[in-house]
């Protein structure tokens, strides 16, 4: 079997709260991250919400 060296970078497709969390954890663990977002800005659906249970924090 051909053994090739693994590349120390990762691509995350989707810049919502899930993709952002994955990107942060991977960047904090020593990997280079490409965060790819279809729209003009990250934040995803969560940024559209007004307030969040249970703390009533503003979703921003």
């Amino acid at each position: 079997m051909l053994i090739t060296k693994k590349i120390g970078s990762v691509m995350i497709v989707g810049g919502g709260v899930t993709g952002i969390q994955a990107a942060l954890d991977l960047a904090d663990s020593g990997f280079f991250v490409y965060l790819v977002e279809k729209s003009g800005a990250i934040g995803g659906a969560m940024s559209q919400l007004d307030k969040i249970f249970p703390t009533n924090d503003c979703s921003m």
């Binding site: 090739t4 060296k5 693994k6 590349i7 120390g8 970078s9 990762v10 691509m11 995350i12 497709v13 989707g14 810049g15 919502g16 709260v17 899930t18 993709g19 952002i20 969390q21 994955a22 954890d25 991977l26 960047a27 904090d28 663990s29 020593g30 990997f31 280079f32 490409y34 965060l35 790819v36 977002e37 279809k38 729209s39 003009g40 800005a41 990250i42 934040g43 995803g44 659906a45 969560m46 940024s47 559209q48 919400l49 007004d50 307030k51 969040i52 249970f53 249970p54 703390t55 009533n56 924090d57 503003c58 921003m60």
Partner: protein, 941 residues
């Protein structure tokens, strides 16, 4: 990389080449300063996607004001110039930065990566074509996402709840659940979207806060509030907020007369046709995989389930059908925010496992400019006043506050922001610090608990010491609590800002300290969650100690037969145990318990005690609590006295053994919520509905002549589990709804067991003759959870489960750095969710373990050796065991004593300072000078 779409993923795990198509932005990101002049001049208005079509945006726009990156973009479909060359061009004329580039083109990038994580999210169901709810016909029928925008201060009505048709204040609103979920006829989505029940309740409660006197009704089939603290929230919504809950399916929405009011008709629980009129109807729309994600899955050869979500295994919930490509968030099944965040971390764990050999090969650390020494300069204070949309500015007169602030001593600069926390405000603050030579900053906004780290980073970016910022909380402690008295709120805001300014004047530059990290993990609990977490860390090369109280690994999963999706649990658990036991990096401590713990993030020392009293000490940098949960032993339904009344776990065993009572029985009655969702245990055990439905299906399939009844309160077969509920109904399992105040009555009568229950459809008591009664028992927190809680100083929630740091955004972290939680120890959940959480906890732990040192907060206790006389009052009160009493001069007891503080263990809580009668110890950043100056400023009004 924004405006980018993945079109192809070639290669294999470890070595992929991803093709990314970047759409033209028509604005140069390097030049755009986000000033917004272009948007003001743009003549073309179109519906805003961000506002879910409730509001408008221009053809050149930012998605929202706090967008990251805060760079404008041109919508080529809407732009007059791009549609007709030679016309308009207003934005280009007004842009001083020269950022507009109408000649921008699409670009194709080919990027080599080791792994790919798919987190494309969801789109909400579009009810336009379904007809029955009047969406798209009546303007006052809106979706739940649109309702969120109406509630938001940054939305089309700035948070005022008015009707789209005539801007009349809304007095009566109805929420219709399951629009685009649990309904194959009208929308084709048979699954439950899991999140809409809770979001409707939240929206109803918040809408009532926005508009006092508002009447809210939620029309639902089953209330699926199965998450942590969700049932308590529902009860509060019902009892305290007065949200009305109606169990029924609304037949349709019609216009009432000539006005824009809406008439709902439905059949109530008494069987009567009812009509009600509402100002507004909110459709709680379900989640579905967006079309572009379906296309991506097809192109990348990722297998999907029948419900169009990524196909995964319950024991590897982020692994797709293609090795090296992972799925998380709602793409792998409908999820709420905390589950999504958890699965994002879980995907990180899976990637980290795959690419561990290449760690640190391509990454670089963030760097900050050298810190400016301001110790010799007089204070030059900059104050930034946040409007927080309308949260603050809707109550406090920020203009007046600004004028007042400018008169305070040493304040040389004051500015107002719509949102001080947005990225553009951060950049602006950095600029102001530099151009105005500011050396102290006050941000009057919200809580330092959530936002101080952000502003500290901003100061660092500007080359200032991060501790030279002070926050005045004019929102949580002011505008939110004094909404009824704007004048007093403005006056209080002035007091708070004056205090913060006074205090920051005597702030000093502090240094955060670095401590080395022991690159080893400790996992407490050898169940599924514990084993998964241990394995993930070990596979990445970290040594792990796994502590199990009993003599066997496997935990509660040893009682289970199949996961909801049908995977054989004993096989999977056996595989896990095998891997754990033989892993060279995992040390398993069976029949050991943690009996003592000391230390702090990166440097814990835990003492394990074996059944024979033998002790072992483990040094570790991070710890994961995965101690599981216990079964509730029923006190009700004559469980103690009737032998054929058994728990669900006992029944599984009997069924597997083909025990004689089960074999001969013809009538089976399952009773749900035994020990769950009632006084003192107001939480849902989450797994029992699915479990009973699966058992019922098994019984019916084996012998269709059996009568199987399930007595339930709300059927909570959430997500794709809904297919099981449907299958059970199809097989003839009879579901009977009961209410908490009309619990079933179980008595023995010779050979049969009588089960009496009130039938809501027939409106009379129903008497079932059962041969076996199966109680769906609750999941209880471990009775000894409080011991671990005390040892590691990690909190327990009100229901006795371990409490995470933040319900949504830090779902597996504890408030104590370096400690994490996973599995049933956190809250009842399915195997799939436990595994996801375990992976997430491992990912979070690895962010620490992969480093050689950790930086700790610079706010700590400092001993004033002149004043300390070694009375040791502080030693006893320190909750972190950070203070020790030592000889003033080593080995000379006659020279007296004094205290020493372990800087790494100290959390800067200040209890020592408060207890010290001689000013022998103080907290940096909270010195007597700072606090007394602040108090004097408070009293100076």
């Amino acid at each position: 990389m924004t405006l980018c779409e993945v079109t192809d993923i070639a290669g294999r795990a470890g070595n992929f080449t991803v093709t990314v198509k970047e759409a033209p932005r028509y604005v140069d990101m390097g030049k755009c300063i986000g000033c917004g002049d272009c948007t003001e001049k743009c003549p073309k208005q179109v519906d805003s996607e961000y506002d879910a079509e409730t509001g408008k945006r221009r053809a050149i726009y930012v998605k929202y004001l706090q967008a990251v990156p805060l760079k404008y973009q041109i919508d080529p479909e809407a732009c007059i110039r791009l549609q007709n060359i030679g016309t308009c061009g207003a934005c280009e004329e007004v842009c001083d930065a020269g950022a507009i580039n109408f000649g921008d083109i699409e670009k194709i990038h080919r990027i080599d990566v080791g792994a790919v994580v798919l987190a494309p999210g969801f789109e909400v169901f579009d009810p336009t074509d379904s007809g029955v709810w009047g969406y798209g016909i009546f303007p006052n029928v809106i979706t739940s996402l649109q309702f969120e925008r109406y509630l938001s201060a940054s939305g089309p009505t700035k948070g005022y709840l008015v009707r789209p048709s005539d801007s009349k204040a809304v007095k009566k609103v109805a929420f219709l659940q399951c629009v685009g979920s649990r309904d194959e006829n009208l929308c084709g989505n048979g699954y439950c979207s899991s999140v809409c029940c809770m979001s409707a309740i939240k929206e109803a409660v918040i809408a009532k806060e926005h508009s006092p006197g508002l009447q809210t009704s939620i029309f639902y089939m089953d209330m699926r509030t199965h998450g942590k603290e969700f049932d308590q929230y529902m009860e509060r919504a019902r009892e305290t907020s007065g949200v009305r809950f109606v169990r029924c399916r609304v037949n349709g929405v019609e216009k009432d007369g000539s006005r824009d009011d809406l008439r709902l008709s439905y059949i109530n629980e008494e069987g009567l046709q009812v009509e009600e009129v509402y100002d507004m109807v909110v459709l709680s729309v379900g989640l579905q995989t967006p079309k572009h994600a379906l296309k991506l899955a097809y192109n990348a050869d990722i297998k999907l389930t029948g419900d169009n979500f990524a196909a995964t295994s319950d024991f590897a919930p982020v692994q797709t059908s293609r090795e090296g490509i992972f799925a998380c968030g709602s793409f792998a099944g409908p999820k709420n925010i905390s589950q999504s965040v958890t699965s994002g971390s879980a995907a990180a764990a899976a990637v980290s496992d795959l690419l561990a050999p290449a760690r640190f090969e391509l990454s670089a650390d963030a760097s900050f400019p050298d810190e400016k020494d301001v110790s010799a300069d007089g204070p030059r204070i900059g104050v930034f006043l946040c409007h927080c949309g309308s949260n603050i500015a809707g109550v406090v007169d920020v203009e007046a506050l600004g004028e007042y602030t400018a008169t305070l001593p040493d304040v040389v600069y004051v500015e107002q922001n719509l949102f001080s926390c947005s990225q553009d405000s951060q950049d602006m603050i950095v600029e102001r610090i530099q151009e105005q030579s500011l050396n102290r900053i006050v941000v009057a906004a919200c809580s330092p608990r959530t936002h101080e780290p952000l502003f500290r980073k901003t100061l660092k970016t500007a080359g200032l010491n991060e501790y030279l910022v002070e926050m005045a909380n004019i929102r949580n402690q002011n505008s939110w609590v004094h909404t009824a008295d704007p004048e007093a709120a403005t006056s209080k805001a002035k007091d708070l800002v004056r205090m913060a300014v006074a205090r920051v004047t005597c702030s000093d530059s502090l240094k955060s300290i670095s401590v080395p990290i022991t690159q080893k993990g400790l996992v407490i609990g050898g169940g599924t969650a514990g084993m998964i977490a241990a394995l993930n860390m070990a596979e990445q090369g970290f040594e792990v100690h796994l502590v199990e109280k009993t003599d066997i690994l496997g935990g509660n999963a040893l009682n289970l037969k199949h996961t909801w999706s049908g995977q054989h649990v004993p096989t999977e658990v056996a595989k896990l145990v095998d891997k754990v036991v033989w892993h060279e990096k995992i040390v398993v401590h069976r029949e050991f318990e943690v009996t003592a713990a000391e230390g702090f993030v990166g440097n814990f020392k835990s003492t394990l005690t074996g059944r024979d009293g033998f002790k072992r000490t483990i040094e570790h940098g991070a710890g994961i609590i995965a101690t599981g949960a216990e079964q509730y032993i029923p006190q009700e339904y004559n469980y103690e006295s009737i032998t054929r009344v058994v728990t669900s776990v006992q029944f599984d065993k009997l069924y597997e053994l083909n025990e004689v009572h089960v074999r001969r029985a013809k009538n089976f009655v399952f009773i749900q919520c035994v020990g769950s969702r009632e006084e003192n245990n107001m939480y849902c055990s989450k797994v029992c509905c699915t479990h009973s439905v699966q058992s019922a299906i098994g019984l019916k399939k084996e012998n269709p002549n059996r009568n199987v009844y399930i007595l339930y309160r709300d059927m909570r077969t959430y997500g794709q589990r809904e297919a099981l509920y449907k299958q059970a109904r199809k097989l003839g399992v009879i579901f009977i709804n009961y209410e908490l105040h009309g619990k079933p009555n179980v008595t023995e009568n010779g050979l049969v067991i009588n089960v009496e229950v009130w039938d809501h459809i027939l409106h009379r008591p129903l008497k079932l003759e059962a041969d076996m009664v199966i109680l769906a028992i609750a999941i209880r927190p471990m009775s000894d959870a409080s011991t671990l809680s005390k040892l590691y100083k990690v909190p327990l929630g009100g229901d006795g489960f371990f409490q995470e740091a933040h319900a949504k955004l830090r779902p597996v972290d504890f408030s104590v750095d370096g400690m994490f939680v996973a599995g049933l120890a956190h809250f009842p959940k399915s195997i799939e969710e436990s595994v996801s959480q375990a992976l997430a906890a491992s990912a979070r732990a690895v962010t620490l373990l992969s480093k050689r040192e950790v930086f700790l907060d610079g706010i700590t206790a400092i001993v004033d050796e002149q004043n300390c006389d070694g009375c040791a009052l502080c030693v006893d009160v320190c909750p972190y065991n950070a203070i020790t009493l030592v000889d003033r001069i080593a080995d000379d007891p006659d020279a007296g004593k004094l205290i020493r503080v372990n800087q790494a263990q100290c959390k800067g809580c200040g209890i020592c300072q408060g207890s010290c009668p001689k000013r022998g110890v103080y907290i940096t950043g909270f010195t007597m000078e700072q606090i007394s100056t602040q108090i004097r400023a408070a009293l100076a009004a």
